[in-house]
């Protein structure tokens, strides 16, 4: 009896002590584009483990960006393991306020590591940097581009290879492109810019093109009520209300692609993340261009960055660095860009044979890269959820004619000032 007990005990002890101490990384990530991408991530994690014995990676697919943030924070609070996560680039301030992340500079100490931190496009680093330290490593990043239907351009006598380069050109072309039936009902609009889901993001493009960003780099002040910003919203509103080249009211983000591929609008502004899907469904030749300029070109960047959490051991941080470096090599950035339509995050990725070949057959894929030099950070402040909703509501109120652009934006600015005062 006693020997049996001893045997059991020995068995239990053996089971409790692992053969070798693996460093385990739990890694939350969102997927915001359709497609079986979770399998791709799982496959990448397995490949990494093969090359790095001693590190185990558990990727956890957490839904969309909002889910991923909520889930990762909940896991941290509940004491469940979470070392790294891909989260919205604009969650930075929220994560700082919750005091859950550490800068990559803390672990990236070798010369090679430091060079790696500088390998990405500067405009993609804006949302990840706070007070000179890098908290977010770009992973799946997008910008807004203009899609145009070449057949529609040809039909109305426009050069199908020449997209609008300025606001004026866009208005004029769009006016020509509007098609009505015998009864005078519009069967094709000139241009559509979505105004649900990511309203503030689209608006940032207008504002940037008109010369202004919407917040300061410290994330504690918004610039909604500047005359240039108000004029930008006025232009967006006018596309529907004055020039009649866009439907009035808000335009649904989710169904816009379908409207474009069905030929119901000749141009649309949408995320580069949509490129692959449009390519697969459009039955007509289409082009992708940089967004038109008013005072300058411009688009915000968007998407997800790698963050490292504070509650991590030294070994885990080292392993996390190794994993994220591995995930962002030029080859993998290129492959991920091709699989998703996202921007490849670093210039040398565009020099890889794989992406070069792809771009030769499908030149639309590099437009987003070319636009990066005009790009700016996505709207992100302290209290970011509230501030974003304030702006969304203001834009929608203006687009639906409930308020004038000036009144809507001034009210939003006043409210944002109230929210952000404690952070100054």
């Amino acid at each position: 009896m006693r020997s049996l007990f001893a045997l059991l005990l020995a068995g239990l002890l053996a089971a409790a002590a692992p053969a070798r101490a693996d460093t385990e990384l739990t890694f939350y990530y969102p997927i915001a584009v359709g497609g079986p991408l979770t399998k791709v991530i799982d496959g990448l994690a397995r490949d990494f483990e093969k090359e790095h014995p001693g590190i185990k990676v558990h990727p956890i697919y957490a839904g969309n960006y909002d889910d991923a943030r909520i889930k990762a924070l909940a896991a941290l609070k509940a004491g469940q393991p979470a070392q790294i996560s891909v989260l919205y680039s604009i969650d930075l301030y929220e994560l700082l306020e919750q005091d859950v992340i550490v800068p990559w500079d803390d672990v990236a100490t070798t010369a090679d590591d430091k060079a790696w931190l500088k390998a990405f496009y500067p405009s993609l680093m804006m949302n990840g940097t706070y007070k000179g330290k890098v908290y977010g490593i770009p992973f799946q990043r997008s910008t807004i581009v203009l899609f145009w239907n070449k057949d529609a351009f040809k039909e109305v006598g426009l050069d199908p290879e020449k997209p609008p380069a300025t606001w004026n050109e866009m208005t004029q072309m769009a006016t020509k492109l509007v098609k009505r039936d015998a009864a005078g009902n519009v069967v094709r609009w000139g241009v559509m810019v979505p105004s649900t889901g990511y309203t503030y993001w689209m608006f940032q493009a207008f504002a940037r093109q008109n010369g202004h960003d919407l917040m300061n780099p410290e994330g504690n002040r918004t610039i909604f009520a500047d005359p240039d910003v108000i004029a930008a919203l006025q232009y967006w509103r006018d596309l529907g209300a004055k020039y009649r080249v866009m439907p009035e009211g808000t335009i649904e983000w989710g169904t816009l692609r379908q409207a474009f591929t069905e030929g119901k609008t000749a141009m649309m502004w949408h995320t580069t993340g949509n490129l692959t899907a449009v390519k697969d469904t459009a039955k007509f030749p289409f082009g992708v261009a940089m967004l038109p300029a008013s005072k300058q070109r411009g688009s915000p960047t968007g998407g997800g960055n790698f963050y490292m959490f504070k509650k991590t051991t030294r070994e885990e941080r080292k392993a996390a660095l190794a994993f994220v470096k591995w995930m962002t090599t030029p080859e993998r950035a290129a492959a991920w860009s091709i699989a998703t339509g996202y921007v490849a995050t670093r210039p040398d990725a565009y020099e890889t044979p794989k992406l070069k070949d792809y771009a030769r057959d499908f030149p639309q894929a590099v437009v987003a890269r070319d636009q990066l030099k005009y790009a700016t950070a996505e709207l992100s402040t302290f209290q970011t959820g509230r501030v974003r909703k304030l702006l969304d509501d203001a834009i929608q109120a203006a687009l639906t004619g409930q308020k004038t652009p000036a009144a809507a934006l001034q009210a939003a600015q006043a409210e944002a000032d109230r929210l952000l005062k404690p952070y100054r």
């Binding site: 009902n185 649900t196 009211g249 808000t250 649904e252 989710g254 409207a259």
Partner: protein
């Protein structure tokens, strides 16, 4: 002994009920008097501070108003349709089983799935509603993007979802009416409408009250479709109180303010409870 047994039998359910209904309801009230804590700033007692914010929060008043319109817009219509359906299905209608099934089907479908499909209905130009209207030469309309129509569109969907469910209760009530009633009315030569108004409708009153209360509770509780269709937009034109609570709690992380909003919702529901209690008392509901 009966005391012991009674409580013993009740205990497992009681623990869960207290734990997930009564305790959280009380905790919500307590939380509404504190500020939301963050890692940098801990939570502290602020008295009615959250309520003062609430009184000045235009979005709160907007969603409360929406909830009211939503209830007014959906409940009477669903009930009228439910009665109509029940009367039809109770008749000797050709293919009656099929018709009855059609009416009831929305009840067994999840709101989230239904919303996906209705999104395609309402899409401008290529959606079903606009395609149908185009047959008559009507211009396309931006149904969900126009603050003037968005709430009505959601109401139509909810009426579709609920009418068949309410029909069931009327059907049960109709089947318990004595058939001689209608025979008698026929002999007297009363018109169908007259019979319905003077005889049937009053007899259905208890069912109507029951459905009314349920429908009102539902109108505060049912927000699933907003996640797919409008996210409360444009500019909160279609947002409802519970959806706003969700946004404040889980996207602004302001749990204290969310608790304050929840207190309002609880107070509204408690008010309803009182109304219901009165109605129920009157018709001696409890056996």
């Amino acid at each position: 002994m009966k005391h012991v047994y009674g409580w013993l039998l009740l205990t497992p359910a009681a623990i869960l009920l207290v734990g997930f209904t009564h305790y959280p309801a009380a905790a919500t009230l307590v939380d509404s008097f504190f500020s939301t804590g963050t890692a940098i700033r801990p939570s502290r007692f602020i008295g009615f501070g959250n309520y003062a914010l609430l009184a000045e929060d235009p979005i709160f008043w907007k969603v409360l108003g929406n909830n009211l319109w939503f209830a007014l817009g959906t409940i009477p219509t669903s009930i009228a349709l439910a009665i109509l359906m029940a009367v039809w299905v109770n008749d000797r209608l050709p293919a009656r089983a099929l018709v009855r099934m059609a009416y009831f089907t929305p009840t067994v479908l999840p709101m989230i799935a239904v919303a996906n499909i209705w999104l395609f209905f309402y899409t401008p130009q290529i959606g079903l509603v606009d395609q149908f209207r185009a047959l008559f030469g009507a211009p396309s309309h931006n149904w969900l993007g126009d603050p003037g129509t968005v709430l009505a569109c959601l109401m139509v969907m909810v009426i579709w979802k609920e009418a068949g469910f309410f029909m069931i209760f009327y059907l049960a009530a109709l089947q318990s009416l004595p058939p001689e009633l209608e025979e008698a009315a026929k002999i007297e030569g009363a018109s169908r409408w007259h019979f319905f108004r003077r005889v049937m409708f009053p007899l259905l009153m208890p069912t109507t009250l029951f459905v009314l209360v349920n429908a009102t509770i539902n109108s505060f509780k049912l927000v699933d479709h907003l996640f797919i269709l409008t996210k409360g937009g444009p500019d909160n034109a279609s947002s409802l109180l519970l959806y706003y609570i969700y946004q404040v709690a889980f996207s602004f992380f302001d749990t204290a303010y969310a608790s304050t909003l929840t207190v309002v919702l609880l107070a509204l529901l408690a008010g309803l409870a009182l109304v219901q209690f009165h109605l129920v008392e009157k018709r001696v509901h409890y056996r």
